[in-house]
Amino acid sequence: MSAFDLLMGVLLIASALAAVTLKNAVHAGLALVANFLSLAVVYFALEAQFLGWIQIIVYAGAVMVLFLFVIMLLFDAKADVGLDRLPWMRPLAAALAAAFFLALAYAFSGVGPVNPLADVKLGGGLPKALGGLLYGNWLYTVLLVAALLFAATVAAVSLVQPQIRKARVKPQVLERDRELEEVGK
Amino acid sequence: MSVYSLAKALGITLKHMFSKPVTIPYPSAPVPLKPRFHGRHVLTRHPDGLEKCIGCSLCAAACPAYAIYVEPAENDPENPVSAGERYAKVYEINMLRCIFCGLCEEACPTGAIVLGNEFELADYVYADLVYGKEDLLVDTVGSKAQRREAEQTGKPVKLGFEVPYVRPELEGVKYE
């Protein structure tokens, strides 16, 4: 447990806690960005460079940007959320989180520390090595994930299509059109 | 928005890059003014030295900004100041009120008050910008501020403009 591990642990937990407890939604979003960036640092330390950069580019750079757009446009970010409708949820959530933490601690108790510099099979997590694996052994998994993402995109786009409603016509106009039709016949 | 029109636009600006700029580097270079430019007023004289202004106050009446103040006085027959019966004892133009419209020049029956070409009139104190007769007569060159600076530095007044010719109404005015 080096000083670096301790520091990153503190950063990750603090930013995650800030993300769920801060009142101002944009501040909470920024805390989440800080969390993602700290996670990217952890990935770099574990010699997973490509994953670390992707974490920054995709999560912190694209996902959170769009998320913050939505927060800024839709919510009055400074307002308090108001009455807490489920007051018993907080202690329950805390208890469940503590239980989950204990379970994870037990699960990881038998695992020794990872020595990142030994056995660097993937060339430092670089695209060349990863590409060979992804599109070689795991090709079908990649295709499945791509299909899933595509389905999500199509669903999202179709959800925001404007509903084309038929124009409401006044009943007098409908009546007159019907009469004109009869006369025409 | 064709590529051709975009390229033409680029060509125009490139041509500009190689042409001489139209900026006049005043005050290193004199500003070219037109002869009828409305500048500071000049009280002209007749060729024999008598002032043309007879103190009739038509200019003060015509001024839309009420910038002119005239106090006439009787001409002494032995030493006449002007060429008529009266002359202007006090003649003041408030340069801050004046709008340089030239109606005073049009109203003047003798052609005494004429708009010259000087424009460097800026000064610091309000009172200094009420020009009296001695500041407006045809013998004085430069504004009050320019003459003050010339006295302090010892150099002659340098006018920052040039005109192709001095119009004939400005009798006796010379810009070197």
């Binding site: 460079q49 940007v65 769009l66 695209p127 | 600006t13 890059m17």
Partner: protein, 330 residues
């Protein structure tokens, strides 16, 4: 020890970039003036060369006003983000061959995933824009910031996909490898002409320069996201914008025109050739800025998503087919 040298090189680079930014304002004002048949600033010092210093002194002594409605933390943070990530992208650009400056390598970092670093820096820089728009506490700044950031996200996509073709041909994400490949095989601008054009257009948009200056469309938005900022915070945004221009003008030759290599067998002097190519691109961007007008915002967005992105994607597929048919990267 390596880190110390890198840190020192980083410091030197930052100082150099700030100096370049200051004198780019001079060059920009005089250059634009010549395009508009007038003189630029020429009063302050010979040829106006002390003008940037006068501007800096003025900006520093201006009163730093904070909007009452502003969100304190984010209002302070946003210019910092903009400025930091604008400086960051220059670190991986190789200015010359290994060990050429008295035995020191002329780059701050030699990342094996250099291209990914560029994407990251560009994306994190857009945070500064919409965060400052939101933090100003004004509806109009918010709208300006969001519209700018939305446009930038679209052009970043085109930027990224455009780079996939060159990366495939070179077979590496490392900028040094890209430059060295071009020295052997010829300029990537010729091999990958369509995406070179796409990259150039997208880079113009990222810089926020006409015809894409929706970021700061003065006639429409006053200052957009930076309306409520002044003094040093505003200077940070202005610096970030010009630094993007400087960095993009250095990146385009590096990625597409063989970086620091001299053209056609002329003597290889380390930093000089990149400097010349950089000057060429600075001039071209300024030329375009002086000549063309701004396109309408929805046309801009449609252009990014509907023209640039498909063209880049189609070209990437073509390149992938070509590379695969030759059995791997050339």
């Amino acid at each position: 020890m390596i880190y110390l040298i890198a840190a020192l090189k980083g410091l030197v680079l930052i100082l150099l970039l700030l100096f370049t930014f200051a004198y780019l304002t001079w060059g920009m004002r005089r250059g634009l003036a010549r395009f508009q048949i007038r003189l630029g600033p020429n009063r302050v010092g010979p040829l106006g060369l002390l003008q940037p210093i006068a501007d800096a002194v003025k900006a520093i002594f201006k009163e730093d006003i904070s909007v009452a409605n502003a969100d304190k933390f984010v209002y302070w943070l946003a210019p910092l983000i903009s400025f930091t990530f604008a400086l960051a992208a220059f670190a991986i650009i190789p200015l010359g061959p290994k060990g050429s400056i008295f035995g020191i390598d002329p780059w701050v970092a030699d990342l094996n995933v250099g291209i990914l670093y560029l994407f990251a820096a560009a994306e994190l820089a857009t945070y500064g824009i919409f965060l400052s728009g939101w933090a100003s506490g004004s509806k109009y700044s918010l709208l300006g910031g969001l519209r700018s950031a939305a446009g930038l996200v679209g052009y970043e996509l085109a930027l990224g996909v455009a780079l996939l073709g060159p990366v495939l041909m070179v077979g590496s994400l490392n900028l040094r490898d890209i430059v060295d490949w071009q020295a052997q095989h010829g300029w990537l601008a010729l091999w990958q002409l369509p995406v070179f054009i796409v990259y150039f257009i997208a880079a113009l948009a990222e810089m926020g320069r006409t015809p894409f200056d929706f970021v700061e469309a003065e006639q429409e938005l006053v200052g957009g996201f930076s309306t409520e900022y002044n003094s040093m915070k505003f200077v940070s945004f202005y610096m970030a914008e010009l630094l993007h221009w400087i960095t993009a003008s250095a990146l385009i030759p590096t990625l597409f025109m063989a970086g620091w290599h001299a053209p056609f067998g002329l003597p290889e002097i380390p930093i000089l050739w990149l400097f010349i190519k950089w000057l060429v691109f600075i001039f071209i961007v300024m030329w375009i800025w002086a000549s063309w007008f701004r396109t309408r915002y929805d046309v801009l967005i449609r252009f990014a998503w509907g023209v640039l992105f498909p063209v880049a994607l189609a070209w990437f597929l073509l390149t992938a087919y070509w590379v695969a048919s030759r059995g791997g990267a050339a």
